[in-house]
């Protein structure tokens, strides 16, 4: 039998740490978050580590035994709608969120509830795309939740009691929170949702102890600020650029790298001439102050709702400090983390909107890409070549794994006046009569070359993210309800389990009492799998 822990790490020491931790349930300090890879039995941040890798160093489940995985427990939320959570696990307790701003703590071995919390939502909230939430942050003895009515809430990790509850902004204007926040030092970072409503996007940092807001970075610059000139007239006031996916943190430079979403209205450029900074960008922010160090805009003046809200992944290679993102616009970008300089951009799915690159190497739109009144077919479609589902980076294979969607849509303009709190798209999309049925794939990209090395084809596009593990495995789900283990080197499927509901979530791994589990949400249930 192979060791539970990757042989790169001192396994015996770690097992002792694990055993002690279960008993003592130590506070989750910033130190522990920084060194998350030293306690692989836990999953302490949305992406598993600050670098965004969604990689587990556990290898008890591996390519030789994955075929014998079984479901160990199932937890049902008894709620409808998309279940998008990535659970956290700390010292044997699993913390996760559900639809309608539920949060809960479970015995990670059995799935039995320890506490349940549900935020009381007003009846007139404005969630864009379902009453969803993607998870919690944990720090000290608290877990942190962002809600659909734009509250930020700290809960007691042991009881689920509210410690503090702060309204970040007026939800009636279209603001909400759906992301899992990120805890850094004594701060909890939240990016706002609401790109469909003509909001003015921002990223907030709150004192974990008091709920006091420490800084706010507006993703649409106001008068007098650099970048303000990239907006026509007053369009900046309702310029969108939400920040609804969890970013990553580089302790070496104390910087957050946070991606932003579409300018508003999402599919109509008329009335907001200019690049529309900092929509569809990656922002490098000082973690203490929220000051902008650099930005890179993937899609300038977007007219296709191609949010850049995909988890970016930090990759260190020798003395090179890189950050990579598989973007919704169909390109895989690699940037220098120190400067934001673009190093490469390569298509990883079908793209028809660009034929050329600018002097920096950034793909630029051709004259066949803007939506028209009659409608114009563009690939990728409105839901993108990928979306918010997490990618994964496996340092053992050196590959970047992403869930790709192959679909093209007709984009047609549909002018709408701006009204506070009303949907504000400016355009519509739908599949062409002649379009092929949509399909999807898990693709393995070599970050060194930007080339796709292999793909595992899905019957239809999936909203599942990807987990890689030191056992040489990838885990992902599909729209037909399967949870699948694949060989990370070749993409060969090794095992699958039919969960009875489509996956709208990204998997994670943890261990309790020396047993490795892999967890995924599907339908209205959270599943945990392990060896028999």
């Amino acid at each position: 039998m192979r060791a539970l822990i990757s042989n790169k790490l001192p396994a015996i020491v770690l097992l002792i740490v694990a055993a002690v931790a279960v008993k003592t349930q130590a506070q989750v300090t910033f130190e522990r978050l920084l060194n998350a890879s030293k306690e692989p039995q836990n999953w302490l941040t949305y992406s598993g580590n600050y670098a965004g890798h969604r990689f587990s160093t556990l290898d008890q489940v591996n390519t030789t035994n994955a075929h014998s995985l079984v479901a160990k427990w199932v937890y049902q939320t008894a709620a409808t709608g998309k279940f998008e959570t990535t659970p956290l696990v700390a010292d044997g307790i699993l913390y996760a969120t559900g639809q309608d701003d539920r949060a809960f703590a479970l015995d990670a071995r059995t799935g039995r509830p320890i506490w349940l919390f549900q935020h009381q939502l007003p009846s007139d909230i404005r969630p864009c795309c379902g009453r969803v939430n993607r998870g919690l942050a944990i720090l000290g003895d608290k877990v942190f939740l962002g809600t659909l009515d734009a509250h930020v809430i700290a809960l007691d990790a042991k009881t689920g009691n509210i410690i503090w509850d702060v309204a970040a902004v007026d939800y009636k204007q279209g603001y909400s929170f759906t992301l899992a926040p990120l805890a850094v030092k004594n701060l909890v970072i939240f990016g706002v949702s609401g790109g469909e409503y003509g909001i003015r996007g921002f990223i907030d940092a709150y004192d974990a102890n008091t709920g006091q807001r420490k800084w706010r970075f507006y993703t649409v610059p106001g008068p007098g600020e650099p970048g303000h000139e990239t907006w026509e007239g007053d369009s900046w006031k309702i310029g969108g650029a939400p920040a609804w996916v969890t970013g990553v943190y580089d302790p070496r430079t104390n910087q957050l790298f946070w991606p932003t979403g579409n300018p508003a209205p999402s599919n109509r450029g008329e009335g907001r001439a200019g690049d529309n900074l900092y929509s569809n960008s990656l922002l490098a922010l000082d973690a203490d102050t929220g000051k902008l160090n650099w930005y890179f805009q993937f899609t300038k003046h977007d007219e296709h709702d191609w949010d850049a809200t995909q988890v970016p992944i930090m990759i260190d290679s020798g003395d090179k400090h890189l950050i990579a993102q598989a973007n919704r616009n169909g390109f895989f970008y690699v940037l220098d983390r120190a400067t934001g300089k673009l190093l490469s951009a390569n298509a990883y799915s079908r793209t028809t909107w660009t034929d050329n690159k600018d002097a920096e190497g950034r793909p630029i739109p051709n004259n066949q890409s803007s939506p028209t009144p009659e409608g114009r077919t563009v690939c990728p479609g409105a839901l993108g070549a990928t979306n918010w589902m997490s990618p994964s980076f496996d340092s053992q294979t050196g590959l970047f794994y992403v869930t790709a969607r192959e679909q093209c849509d007709i984009f047609s303009t549909a002018p709408q006046p701006y009204e506070v709190g009303h949907a504000y798209y400016g355009s519509a999309y739908f599949p062409s009569d002649k379009a092929e049925p949509y399909w999807g794939a898990l693709r393995a990209i070599d970050p060194a070359t930007g080339q796709v090395k292999w793909e595992f084809r899905h019957l239809s596009p999936t909203w599942s993210g990807v987990l890689s593990t030191a056992g040489g495995l990838l885990f992902t789900g599909d729209a037909e309800g399967n949870f699948i283990a694949l060989d990370a080197a070749s993409g060969k499927p090794l095992w699958h389990f039919q969960m009875g509901g489509a996956v709208y979530a990204s998997p994670m791994a943890f261990a309790v009492d020396g047993k490795q589990y892999i967890a995924i949400a599907a339908g209205s249930s959270l599943y945990a799998f392990a060896l028999p």
Binding site: R126, C128, G130
Partner: protein, 296 residues
Amino acid sequence: MLTPTVCRQKKSSFPISRRVLLSILLGLLALAALLSSSTVAQESRNPLSTDPKAAKAGEFEFRINCAFCHGLGARGGGRGPDLTRAHKRHGDSDADLFQNITQGIPGTVMPANGTNGQGVGMTDDEIWQIIAYLRSVQVQSPLKPIGNPAHGKDLFYGDANCSSCHMVEGKGGRLGPDLSSVATARTVESLIESVRNPSQRLAWGLTESTKEFAQEYETVTVVTADGQKLKGVTLNEDRFTLQMMDTTEQIHLFEKDKLRSIQTSRKSMMPSYDLTILSDHDLDDIVAYLLNVSTK
């Protein structure tokens, strides 16, 4: 004996006042429910029907929220019915339309407003704008069949052989879609196209949260491990399994990795009925029959 009675009386005075309070509360709740149900727009007529701008605003709302399935111009898409028909299967009144948009239609993929998981739900006003738009594009006179429905029925169950694969009102085959209500969902042009060139557009499953029913009538041919060749239509399929009906209407359930081969095709199993097989006149009669049964 006395003391307990007094006690009982004392005790009972409290529940009475609570009961009164309760009934007042219940009354208030009922009133609130009544008020809210009337404001949640159980209006029987569109309050925007006389607003000339409503239909135009509704056209854009329709594009954003409805055209994905119902097509540009509400003429029906690959997934949703033609809404320009005066007769709609799930109700024609303003109140019916409002109800169908807000609540969805059970047993179909029509979702309740705001629950398809993509995009924002509409306000009541926006829904009334869409209804105003639908009225503006609605074909006013009920559709008059241009053919002879009685002869169409004879052809359907006889020489044209439609019923060997299609069912209407409980009679016929199972390999193709049930056509009992197809004419409320499709334009005459698309019905004709589906007969002349059935592979042009197979039924589409939905790829997103409403996908749950998936049958697209793809043609599938499998060779089993023992060499048996089977042809039919897919009932459902995922990455690892296949549920199919063969040409003798037997259902087969397969694990794909145990099959020797599997081939799916979007070329329909239905033959193309060109003019040498079916005259325009006879086709009009069959369409007239389908219109007739659909609008019963």
